[in-house]
Symmetry: C2
């Protein structure tokens, strides 16, 4: 029997949608039925009509919750919606279950099968097409460079004109993961002089291949047996001082050291912010209620400092590039669904599979994900 998939509408502040019309079309071709909550794609520029043309049925939330075998979301829905989930129903999204353990326990008790993207084992190559954290980080990095360029009151590229030459902007990206590399690439495209900083010396190759300068700490954190060792207080201070020097030499700093559910490391201190030249821009991708990478950053806000610098608390950049972000995310969702369906087109959760044994947070009353189990102290 064909399964029914339903994409829910996100909260107003979230412009992304978990399924886009082109992916709906492919799911239907594979034999699934697809429901889409009315207006779910509107903020990402996908109209209800486009979903209908793709073969989906546009319904209200109660119908979606009542009929779907599998619910897809971007962010975790509100408690009321979670409360309406039924036994054996599957929900897939960026559910942050490794952060909010109580929710994970509740879903397990309700016999709901919850798949939470942040639990995906990112090192398994088969999981790459499902890697929503990666696809959304890529969007965030691109958008971070654009937001920086838009706030900055000077040219990014060098400009040679009849009246004289304007020097290019100096951009420093802290953290060279997926978001950092994409920010570096985009700032380079725009013609800035770009540096990427990371404490992992192994990042050098990727940063330099983008035409940027690689900066790192002179303090090595490499310890015995390949493990990182604890730095001494003096070493930490030395690292911070070096970093402060790199920051002072930049017009724009983009920080990307985000750790889901944990307080982000403070990379740009209050002193660095206060000593920044007027017009300096800080884009803090890690801005959150728990803090950010930049002293004084506030999620969703642009803070202007007394010395004329701007700190952009860029907590949800993928939502600002909602169409592309949704397209990417939706493809990740599609890849997970494909892996969930057996040859009869039914959902079959194989909790021994190396991807599913981590991605599946809860199933049949149990916490499955190895990472989540160890966080909860389960054997």
């Amino acid at each position: 029997m064909a399964i029914t998939i339903a994409a829910l509408k996100e909260a107003p502040a979230e412009h992304r949608v978990s399924l886009v019309p082109s992916v709906v079309k492919r799911l239907i071709k594979q034999g699934c039925q697809v429901l889409v909550e009315r207006g779910a794609g509107a903020a990402a520029n996908f109209a209800d009509q486009q979903y209908e043309e793709a073969g989906a049925k546009v319904v209200d939330r109660s119908a979606a919750l009542a009929q779907a075998n599998l619910l897809t979301v971007v962010d975790r829905p509100d408690e009321d919606t979670l409360g309406q989930l039924k036994e054996h129903q599957v929900i897939l999204g960026l559910l942050s279950l490794s952060v909010d353990h109580d929710v994970a326990k509740q879903l397990a008790e309700k016999q709901v099968t919850a798949l939470s993207f942040e639990l995906l084992p990112r090192t398994v190559s088969r999981a790459q097409s499902m890697d929503a954290l990666s696809s959304q980080s890529s969007v965030a990095g691109y958008k971070a460079a654009l937001v920086a360029a838009d706030h900055f009151m000077r040219y990014f590229p060098m400009m040679i004109t009849a009246a004289g030459t304007a020097k290019p902007a100096k951009v420093l990206v802290l953290g060279t993961g997926v978001a950092g590399l994409q920010a570096i690439g985009t700032a380079k495209r725009l013609g800035a002089i770009v540096s990427g900083y990371d404490v992992r010396p192994a990042s050098r190759g990727e940063v330099e291949s983008l035409g940027a300068k690689f900066l790192t700490s002179s303090v090595s954190a490499a310890g015995k047996g390949g493990y990182a060792r604890q730095l001494t207080k003096e070493e930490q201070q030395q690292q911070q001082d070096e970093l402060a020097g790199f920051i002072a030499d930049s017009d724009i700093v983009i920080t990307t050291a985000r750790v889901p559910g944990k307080k982000p490391p403070m990379l740009v201190t209050e002193k660095s912010v206060q000593e920044a030249a007027p017009g300096s821009i800080f884009i803090d991708i890690a801005a959150s209620d728990l803090g950010g990478n930049v002293a004084g950053s506030k999620p969703g806000e642009v803070v202007e400092t007394a010395n004329g610098a701007k700190i952009v608390g860029a907590d949800n950049l993928p939502s600002e590039l909602a169409t592309s972000a949704s397209e990417m995310y939706s493809k990740n969702v599609q890849a997970v669904i494909k892996a969930l369906l057996n040859k009869d087109g039914e959902i079959e959760i194989d909790t021994t599979d190396d991807v599913m044994s981590e991605l599946v947070a809860t199933h049949q009353g149990e916490v499955i994900s190895g990472r989540l189990r160890s966080q909860l102290g389960l054997p």
Copy 2:
């Protein structure tokens, strides 16, 4: 005797400033005294202290007006300030005197010497370093592409990821003057597929040299003796239909057909706007109180249409990139000042000079500028 130059503070909506500290320094080196109105550079990230360090005296407006031989501005000051100008005082800026003839006449009556950048003869090669319209158009074109990228909810470049490929954005730039070419170049940098449209076939080379596709009308406006001829109604319709086709094939349209003081030509019709796909972006650099290039554009506003397109009324983009725009503008101002000073460092207006005979709107009670005289019906 050394002349005194004073840069006035602009109106609050204008972030540019007519003199930046580095240019102040050079003017002082050349023997000028420089006054800067308190806070004049603040919105462009130049602090009063920087001006003082460059050798300027920071003063209030009344002192600037009382002491200066030459006043520099970006936009034309308010009537009250113009009313305080004295006989023989010189004022230089984007005064729009070819638009507001009454103001030109008043300044002539008051025996003020007014130099208005829009009157500069742009074909004289010696005038290139003074060409503020050009330097500011260049800023506007760069910023137009950035504003477009920031409003657009999709990637500009093609993105190849583990989950699939995102197609690049299609950008169409209407009008390939200085602003248009800079918008084309910046959109190309960002990885979009870019086309430039102009009715002048001679623009092809410049557009193609930027890696963009050149689009033009199949209707030739070339008439006898090199003059443009009046198009017939049918030809006008054909031209408009062709253009509507190009617009419909684009995600983003940047329009740059601005004619100072005149109603801008309507290039994107209401029909084109209404038929645009959701998420389409129109950036109208020509947006003004007289209308713009895009139906429904409003200066300084972002209009969202019922079909999910956005029209950005980008009436003063240089003000949004105030630091770079001011640096460029200030160099143009410096070039004019250099041309005005004789070997004793005094202002000497040579109304027979091929640049000054156009740039100087009024001097010693007379309207000087040839263009302005012909507009006013003077011999």
